[in-house]
């Protein structure tokens, strides 16, 4: 992941050496907690251990921005939708007490040209905000898109925007209304 980041001009490697950007591997956390199951499913005790690990990381490092990439990978380990809801709700509860804003990266699916917000349909209900990213087909070309679907407590654009990764960062521009011929294509 770090070697991928280094290809972007806007990535500042000194953030890593200054311990301002920390990257944790979930499989390593699982190993250390001893929660890796052969059947790939977390028990209630495993879930508590994992939540505790997140809490320790945020508390000890004074984290104010946390990205979980992807929450879908965690959700696949949970036995049912109730557990997923409970896990995300508890995660958001303790993170908010630390003043930490969390971005949960969720995989999506496209069904009949409609892009869902998540595979399990739970994450978007619990989250304060949903930012939908995807691709749009125009004359055979793929354009990256971004749309803020919800963002509690703030006024925001609900229009679809085109995004580009530039040497100076992510650039956003409103999408032309007539410039979409193939609908939302891939996720």
């Amino acid at each position: 992941m770090l070697s991928n980041l280094q290809t972007f001009g806007f990535f500042d490697e000194s953030l890593v050496t200054a311990v301002k950007l920390n990257i944790f591997d979930l499989t390593v956390i699982n190993d250390r907690l001893g929660v890796e199951r052969l059947d790939g499913t977390y028990t209630a005790k495993d879930m508590e251990a994992l939540l505790g690990a997140f809490e320790d990381i945020v508390d000890e490092l004074g984290v104010t921005r946390l990205v979980v990439d992807s929450i879908t990978a965690v959700c696949y380990q949970l036995p049912d939708k109730g557990s997923i809801r409970n896990f995300i709700f508890r995660l958001s509860q303790f993170l908010s007490t630390f003043g930490c804003t969390t971005m949960l990266i969720s995989e999506t699916v496209v069904d009949s040209n409609v892009q869902t917000y998540s595979i399990f349909g739970v994450e978007e209900a619990v989250a304060d905000g949903v930012v939908l990213m995807g691709n749009i087909v125009r004359q055979g070309d793929l354009l990256r898109s971004l749309q803020v679907v919800k963002m509690r407590g703030t006024k925001h654009s609900r229009a679809r925007h085109l995004i580009e990764l530039t040497p100076v960062g992510l650039a956003v521009v409103p999408l032309l209304k007539w410039g979409q011929d193939g609908g939302q294509a891939f996720t």
Binding site: L162, E164, V173, W178
Partner: protein, 195 residues
């Protein structure tokens, strides 16, 4: 503001350049500049050279030829290229050179929003106080985009440039510009110059 210099007869490139300078001095922000197909390329090079000579910095958007060609021709015309940048919609499509530091390259001419985005990026690099954007040409985009998409883009481009207060010239080829497109451009522009 709102002046019309459209002539009913063929206008020389020198006259077009004079009209553009007059339009800038009048405080216009958006002009449609029409040239005939026979002198279109020569005209755009000359117009850019005149503006650069007047100490304006600019962004040149090219849809008809690679930016490397324009750079060479502007250098041949002894134009000052210190504060001129390019948004190139051609080179990546045809596999041309994409390593000029003055140019930002767009992968496909259908990615119209990228033009706006790249203008914003290049605008930060302009050193001159008086700035221009030269869009060469509106007709070049019509090859790849449907009329309704093109009209929407022109509308967004024109108003974006107006908000930024950058003098913008929408170059059109007289023989390729139908009445419908002409009317849309005239409606948006402060000045209609040339053929």
């Amino acid at each position: 503001m709102g002046t019309r210099w459209r002539a009913g007869f063929h206008v020389s490139v020198a006259d077009v350049a004079k009209s553009v300078i007059k339009s800038i001095n009048n405080g216009d922000t958006l002009a449609t500049v029409g040239l005939g197909a026979s002198n279109f390329h020569e005209g755009t090079i000359k117009l850019a050279t005149v503006l650069l000579g007047k100490k304006l910095g600019g962004i040149y958007i090219t849809t008809s030829r690679p930016s490397s060609h324009f750079i060479k021709e502007l250098e041949d015309a002894k134009a000052n290229l210190n504060d001129l940048y390019f948004v190139d919609l051609v080179s990546m499509t045809v596999g041309g050179s994409t390593d000029d530091a003055r140019s930002l390259y767009i992968e496909s001419p259908t990615m119209l929003e990228s033009i706006l985005l790249n203008i914003t990026l290049l605008e930060r690099r302009l050193k001159s106080k008086r700035r221009f954007v030269m869009f060469d040409s509106i007709n070049g985009l019509s090859i790849y985009s449907e009329p309704k998409v093109l009209k929407e883009f022109i509308n967004v481009l024109a108003n974006s440039m107006r908000i930024k207060s950058i003098y913008s010239m929408l170059m059109t080829v007289k023989e390729q510009t139908g009445e419908d497109l002409s009317a849309a451009l005239e409606l948006l522009s402060d000045a209609v110059i040339g053929d």
